[in-house]
Amino acid sequence: MPGGDFHPWFFVIVAAWVLVCGLGVVLFRKIMYSAVSMVFCFLGVAFAYALLNAPLVAIIQILVYVGAISIVIIFAIMLTEVQHGGYDLFFNRQTAIAAVVALVGAAVLAFVALSSDIGQIGDKSLTPGLRQLSRLIFDRYVFPFELVSLVLVAAMIGAIVLATREKERP
């Protein structure tokens, strides 16, 4: 069982929470239920980050995912028509195959994870704190950081182009 500076049961609880909410996202009929489930799933993951000595990531997770992404998605749901009806409307024709493939995949990956010999336990005292992380971002990782900002610019402009639909003046 996972060890560390927290009780194994915390892992079980977090895992169950994340997985159940995750399943909720993909299985709920009503899209709003899925959305709410997703928010809870993100919260669970944030809790997991906290357990894994990554409070910064946990906070960002809550800010970005719970705060921003979920809202955007819910807006999108509002903007588009919501279907009502039976399962055949919510799931496509390959659902059964998808389920099988996903289950096989999960099984294979689980088997791999449980049978691997690669990993070693590291020295957890070396886990960087907030200060070290911020220094890293602006030192070693400034290049990806800048790129990420460009990605955001691109995404924003792109979204505007696609969403606003104005004709160019000749």
Binding site: N92, Q94, A98, V101, A102, V104, G105, V108, L109, V112
Partner: protein, 638 residues
């Protein structure tokens, strides 16, 4: 030995002049119109004079061989063949035959072909033929001989299908060439074998090697048999004789020159030329003799019932050629050449006479529609009679001496069966030749009144050659062949057939007796013909009714053409058709197109996986990924 300068010029000019004649006539003949014959005939005449000079040179230098290698023809690797000529006594004899008869036939043709559409063409072809024939006999190597050999085949083709719009004529020409090709197949392989064994194709070299025993006996037999295959084709021996009767589709001078006097003798000449090879292989000699005698009797049997005047002579030619091979096979080399010599004249004469008859009859060739021409075309009649007597072998005509010598040789050498068959042939020859004479010249004329009205003797340009030819047909034997087996010709050819042994001919005794027997049989044959076709004209019909199979078989040429139509020709065409429509179109091309279609088919079948639904695509990605994991984990896990 190297010849003199004059001889070189002569030997070069002999073939070249007719070649020049051919080229010039072909290019300008059409413009010359009815004067188209002047230039080619002139060329041939000079050539004939020169060939007489060649003969005379050989006469003067009997022990020598004139060899002149003009230039290298082919030299590739060790394979070297020069463009070389040689003259010895054998060549001399051939030169005489070819030159003289060729020239006479040219003259004759002036009259015979008069007014024909392709007048100039005819003379051009004839000149080309003379060129090829001269090359054939002057060649000093097998390969050059082969050039002439094929060349005469080409001319034969051209001249047989001279009236090309007649389907039978074009058919016959094609047939002649292809059948000859079958023989050439053997000839070619023989040349390869000779070269492999001796390293040369020149006669002198080959024969030297053969005499030194450099050629293994088994190989020698193969070589001889393969060479003989060539001769079978060219000299129309069984089973490749089928082209010769059909070749009568050509104009009659052609039949006389090519298909009686010269070209068909090429096979005999070639075998005789290869004498040093043949004498080393008893098997081959025996085969030559057996094929010869069989062909001879076979052709004689067919000749009896033929109604076409030229066909009768054609079969008689086959029969005669068979006899020549009998002579060669029996070792009577000089006799064979002697018969060739004589045959050239009398058979040429016969053909030209028949041409004259046909000319007189306005193109009619069926003897059943002739008769009684003796009075109307007397010159033709008399000359033809000389030819016929010579051919049947009545003393003292040329044919008699030659034929008798052959039969005598078979008897003396102990081939009694062959001799007996030979006698039968003599009898049959008498019957069918005089059947021809009687049907044509005696009795009542059986043709239409209109045709009868036009019957006339041929112009001098035709009859003079007849007369000229009848002289050797009559007297040649006396001149060169008497006494038998040791006449002038024998001495003349001795240097070529160097180690022949023969005992002096005995007039009183074995020799004389044999002579008598054959003479008697010949006369009996004539008598039977007289009885059957002059006296009891209904008897032939009755015989035909009594033994219909024998009559029909003879009339239908023993069904050889029908057999050929089925076995080699039909089978080949069927097989070729199968190859084309099945193997080529279905299997090979089918495979090619099939593979191409298969790709397209697979492509079409694969298209539906591209459903257009994005989640299908995602499934492929994810499924593919999982499949890779499973496969690889399994592969590396084990």
């Amino acid at each position: 030995m190297e010849g003199t300068g004059y001889m070189k010029i002569a030997v070069a000019l002999i073939p070249l002049l007719p070649l020049l004649g051919f080229i010039v006539t072909l290019l300008f003949g059409k413009r010359w119109g009815k004067h188209a014959h002047i230039f080619p005939v002139a060329m041939v005449t000079i050539s004939a004079v020169l060939s007489v000079y060649g003969f005379e040179w050989a006469f003067r230098h009997q022990e020598e061989t004139f060899v002149w290698n003009a230039f290298t023809w082919i030299a590739a690797g060790q394979f070297t063949v020069p463009w070389g000529f040689q003259v010895d006594t054998l060549t001399g004899v051939m030169l005489l035959v070819v030159g003289v008869i060729g020239m006479l036939v040219h003259y004759y043709s002036i009259g015979y072909m008069h007014g024909d559409e392709g007048y100039y063409r005819f003379f051009a072809y004839l000149n080309l033929f003379m060129f090829a024939m001269f090359v054939l006999i002057l060649a000093d190597s097998y390969l050059l001989l082969f050039l002439g050999w094929e060349g005469v085949g080409l001319c034969s083709y051209l001249l047989i299908s001279f009236w090309f719009r007649k389907k039978s004529a074009s058919q016959a020409g094609k047939k002649a060439f292809i059948v000859n090709r079958v023989g050439d197949f053997g000839f070619t392989l023989a040349m390869f074998a000779i070269f492999v064994a001796t390293g040369t194709l020149q006669f002198t070299g080959v024969f030297e090697a053969a005499e030194k025993g450099e050629i293994a006996p088994s190989l020698m037999t193969w070589i001889c048999l393969l060479l003989f295959t060539g001769a079978i084709g060219k000299s129309a021996q069984f089973p490749l004789h089928v082209w010769l009767p059909d070749a009568m589709e050509g104009p009659t001078p052609v039949s006389a020159l090519i298909h009686a006097a010269t070209m068909v003798n090429a096979g005999v000449y070639m075998v005789a030329r290869s004498y040093p090879l043949f004498i080393q292989s008893d098997t081959a000699m025996t085969v030559v003799m057996v094929v010869g005698i069989f062909t001879s009797i076979f052709a004689a049997y067919i000749a009896i019932t033929q109604n076409d005047i030229k066909k009768v002579i054609a079969y008689s030619t086959i029969s005669s050629l068979g006899l020549m091979f009998v002579a060669l096979g029996a070792g009577a080399w000089v006799a064979g050449i002697f018969y060739l010599f004589a045959h050239g004249f009398f058979k040429g004469l016969m053909f030209l006479c028949s041409g004259s008859v046909i000319h007189a009859m306005g193109g009619e060739q069926d003897m059943r529609k002739m008769g009684g021409l003796r009075k109307k075309i007397p010159i033709t009649f008399w000359t033809m009679l000389i030819g016929a007597l010579s051919m049947v072998g009545v003393i003292p005509f040329a044919g008699f001496w030659a034929k008798d010598e052959i039969l005598g040789a078979t008897f003396i050498d102990g081939y009694y069966l062959v001799w007996a068959v030979g006698l039968l042939i003599v009898l049959l020859t008498g019957i069918y030749v005089f059947r021809l004479i009687f049907l044509t010249f005696f009795g009542e004329n059986r043709s239409d009144a209109e045709v009868q009205a036009h019957i006339h003797e041929s112009p001098p340009v035709m009859t003079v050659p007849l007369i000229l030819l009848s002289i050797p047909a009559l007297g040649l034997g006396l001149l060169v062949g008497v006494p038998p087996e040791s006449g002038w010709l024998h001495g003349f050819l001795e240097p070529v057939f160097f180690d022949l042994e023969h005992e002096p001919f005995t007039w009183i005794g074995e020799g004389g007796a044999l002579m008598g027997v054959s003479l008697v049989l010949a006369l009996v044959g004539i008598a039977i013909a007289w009885w059957l076709y002059m006296r009891q004209t209904d008897v032939p019909g009755r015989i035909a009714e009594r033994v219909p199979w024998a009559y029909k078989a003879s009339l239908n040429k023993v069904y050889m053409d029908d057999i050929y139509a089925v076995v080699p020709v039909g089978a080949t065409l069927g097989f070729a058709g199968w190859l084309w429509t099945f193997v080529d179109a279905k299997i090979i091309d089918g495979a090619v197109n099939g593979i191409a279609l298969l790709w397209g088919w697979i492509g079409d079948r694969l298209r539906p996986i591209q459903t257009g639904r994005v989640q299908n695509y995602a499934l492929y990605v994810f499924g593919g990924m999982i499949a890779l994991v499973v496969v690889l984990a399994w592969v590396w896990g084990s």
